[in-house]
Symmetry: C2
Subunit: 325 residues, 2 copies
C-alpha cells in the first residue's frame, strides 16, 4: 500500500501536496505510482462540490477566491483551490493560484491552494487537474474550486470536470456584452459581476441586468431549475454578495442532486474522460513505443522524400498497428 | 486501371470533377477507389504553384479570384480554385467558390472552380482538399488557389498544404490592426489590402503602411528572402496591383526553389499529413470496428456507473487494442 494513501484519507495537506506533485510528473515510475494510488483511492465515496471558476485577468479572481474561500472555511468547510492555466503551457509560468494574493486563505488550516504547474500541454493539464480533484475529494475537502482564465478551450475542459460553472465578470457597457463568447454563456451556471462597489456599483447593476436579459433569451437547459442560469452582483473587496452566491450554488446543486442530474452529469463526465484517455493513450503509443516510433520515422522519411504517398504510408502504419480486434 | 486516370492526366475537367466527387465521398467503396486512383497518380511529377488565400467575408475574395485568375489564364496558365470552408461543417452550406460571383472564370476553359462541399467536418475537409489539390496537379494545372475564410484553424490547415499563403484584407484604421490574429500574420507570405480604389484608396495606403511596419517588427523567417513577408495594395474591382502581386508570388516561389525551401516545405508537409492520417486512422478504429466499439461502450458504462475509474478502464481498453508492437 502506498504510504501516501492513509495520510491523504486523513486529510493531511502535505501528503495531498506530494500526491499532486506525483500526478504532475511525467516520469514513468511516478505515473505508475500515481495510477495505483488513484485506483486505491477511487472508490472511497467522498464527493466534494466541484466548482469551475473562470474570469479574465484583472476581473478580481484572486480577491474573489480569497473572500469566498475564507467565508466557506469560516463555516467549517474545507476548501481546495486548483488552477488550470493553459497559458502556462506557452509562457512556462503561471499567474493563477497565486498564494501571495490570497494571504488569509493560504494560511487557513481548512484551505489548500495549489498553483498551476508550469510548462505542461493542455492535454496534460486536463489529466493532472482531474487527478488533483480526485485527490482533494479523497482528502475530504468539501469544496474544490477549479480556476481558469478565459482563453481558448480551457473553460470547456474545466466545465467537463466540475459540477457547477461560475463566470466572474467585470462591470461593462451594454455593448461589450458581445465580448463574452456564446460558448461560455452556455456552460455558465452562475454569472457573477464583480466590483459592485464604489464608483462601479451602478455599472455592475446594469451589467447584471444585461446578462440576466441575455440569459432569459437562451433556451432553458434540462439540468436547470427555474431561474437558472442566473446573473448577480458581488464585491470581492467588500465581501458583499458572496453569501448570496453560495446560497445560489447550493440551491442549484441540491436541485440537481434531487432530480438525478448530479449523478448523470458525473457519469457522463467520467465516460468522456475515459474516452479521452483511450484517445490520448493511442496517440502516445506512436511516440513512446521504440519500434513504432522508428517505423513512423522511417515511413515519414519515405513520404517526405516522395517514395510513398501520405495515404499509402498511413495505411501501412495502421496495418502494422492493428491489434487482435 | 481506373477509367478516370488517363482523362485526368489529359486535363479533362469533367473527369477531374468526378474524381473530386469521389474523394469527397465517405462510402467505403468510393474511398477505396479514390485511394487507388490517388496512388496511381502520385508519382506523375507534376507540381502546381499552390497558393493559400484567406480573407473574411466581405473583403472581396470572389472578385479578387475572378480578376487574378482571369489574368493568369490570359497568360495561358491553367488555374484551379478550391475552397475550404470550415463553416460549412456547421451550416451545411458554403459561400466559398461561388461560381455565380466568378462569371468569367467559371466559363474559362483554362480554369476549374470547385466549391466547398457541404456538411463535412474539418478533418474531412482537410483530407478532401489535399486530395483535390493532388488531382488538380495531376491534371496539369499550373496554379491551384485554395480559398478559406478567416475563422478558426482553417488558415493553419490550408497553410500546411500550400506553397504560398496570401492574406486578403480590407482597408482599416490603424487601431484595427490588432484584429488580425498574430498566428495568421506569422503564416502570411503576402498581405494584399484590397479595395485600393475610389474613396478607400488613401485608407488602403495607410493600411499597407501599418502592416508593412508590423511585418518589419517580426522576426525574419529562414524561408524568406529580404523584404518578405510583404504588404501591398490591390483593387480587385479595377484590376490594379494584381500583376504586381503575381510578380511577388513568383519572386518568392523562385527564391524558395533555388534555396531548397520549396522541396523542404513540401517534404515536411507530406510527413505531417502522413502522421495526421495515422492519428485519424487510429481514432477511426475506436468507432468503426464493431468489437472495439462494443468494448468501448461497455467500459464506458462501467466508468459511468462508477464500477471502474476512467484511467483503469482506459488502460484495459488500450491493452486490448495493443498490436504486435
Amino acid at each position: 500500500m502506498d504510504d501516501l494513501l492513509q495520510p491523504i484519507l486523513d486529510g493531511d495537506r502535505r501528503a495531498l501536496s506530494r500526491a499532486i506533485t506525483l500526478v504532475e510528473s511525467t516520469r514513468p515510475d511516478h505515473r505508475a505510482r500515481a495510477a495505483a494510488l488513484l485506483d486505491a483511492l477511487a472508490r472511497n465515496g467522498r464527493q466534494a462540490l466541484r466548482i469551475g471558476l473562470s474570469g479574465t485577468p484583472g476581473v478580481g479572481k484572486s480577491t474573489f477566491t480569497e473572500g469566498f474561500g475564507t467565508m466557506l472555511t469560516d463555516q467549517g468547510l474545507r476548501v481546495a483551490v486548483l488552477a488550470v492555466d493553459p497559458s502556462s503551457a506557452r509562457t512556462g509560468g503561471s499567474i493563477l493560484g497565486d498564494k501571495t494574493r490570497m494571504e488569509r486563505l493560504a494560511r487557513d488550516p481548512n484551505a489548500f491552494i495549489r498553483p498551476s504547474p508550469s510548462a505542461t500541454h493542455l492535454g496534460g493539464v486536463a489529466r493532472r487537474t482531474r487527478e488533483a480533484i480526485a485527490l482533494c475529494e479523497a482528502a475530504g475537502f468539501d469544496v474544490v474550486l477549479v480556476e481558469t482564465v478565459g482563453v481558448g478551450q480551457s473553460e470547456t475542459v474545466v466545465a467537463r470536470m466540475t459540477d457547477l460553472f461560475v463566470l466572474l465578470l467585470a462591470p461593462a457597457g451594454g455593448d461589450e456584452l458581445q465580448g463574452v463568447k456564446r460558448g461560455i454563456m452556455e456552460i455558465a451556471d452562475l454569472i457573477l459581476v464583480n466590483k459592485a462597489d464604489g464608483d462601479l456599483k451602478a455599472a455592475a447593476s446594469r451589467t447584471v441586468s444585461d446578462y440576466s436579459g441575455a440569459l432569459r433569451l437562451m433556451r432553458q437547459r434540462p439540468h436547470d431549475p427555474e431561474g437558472f442560469p442566473k446573473a448577480m452582483p458581488v464585491s470581492a473587496v467588500e465581501g458583499t454578495g458572496l453569501a448570496q452566491a453560495w446560497d445560489e450554488m447550493r440551491t442549484l446543486a441540491d436541485w440537481r442532486r434531487e432530480h438525478g442530474h448530479w449523478d448523470a452529469t458525473r457519469s457522463r463526465q467520467a465516460a468522456y474522460w475515459f474516452e479521452e484517455e483511450v484517445r490520448a493513450g493511442l496517440m502516445a503509443r506512436l511516440t513512446e513505443d521504440p519500434a513504432t516510433r522508428d517505423r513512423m520515422a522511417e515511413l515519414g522519411r519515405d513520404v517526405a522524400e516522395g517514395r510513398t504517398a501520405p495515404a499509402a504510408a498511413a495505411k501501412e502504419m495502421l496495418d502494422a498497428l492493428s491489434g487482435p480486434a
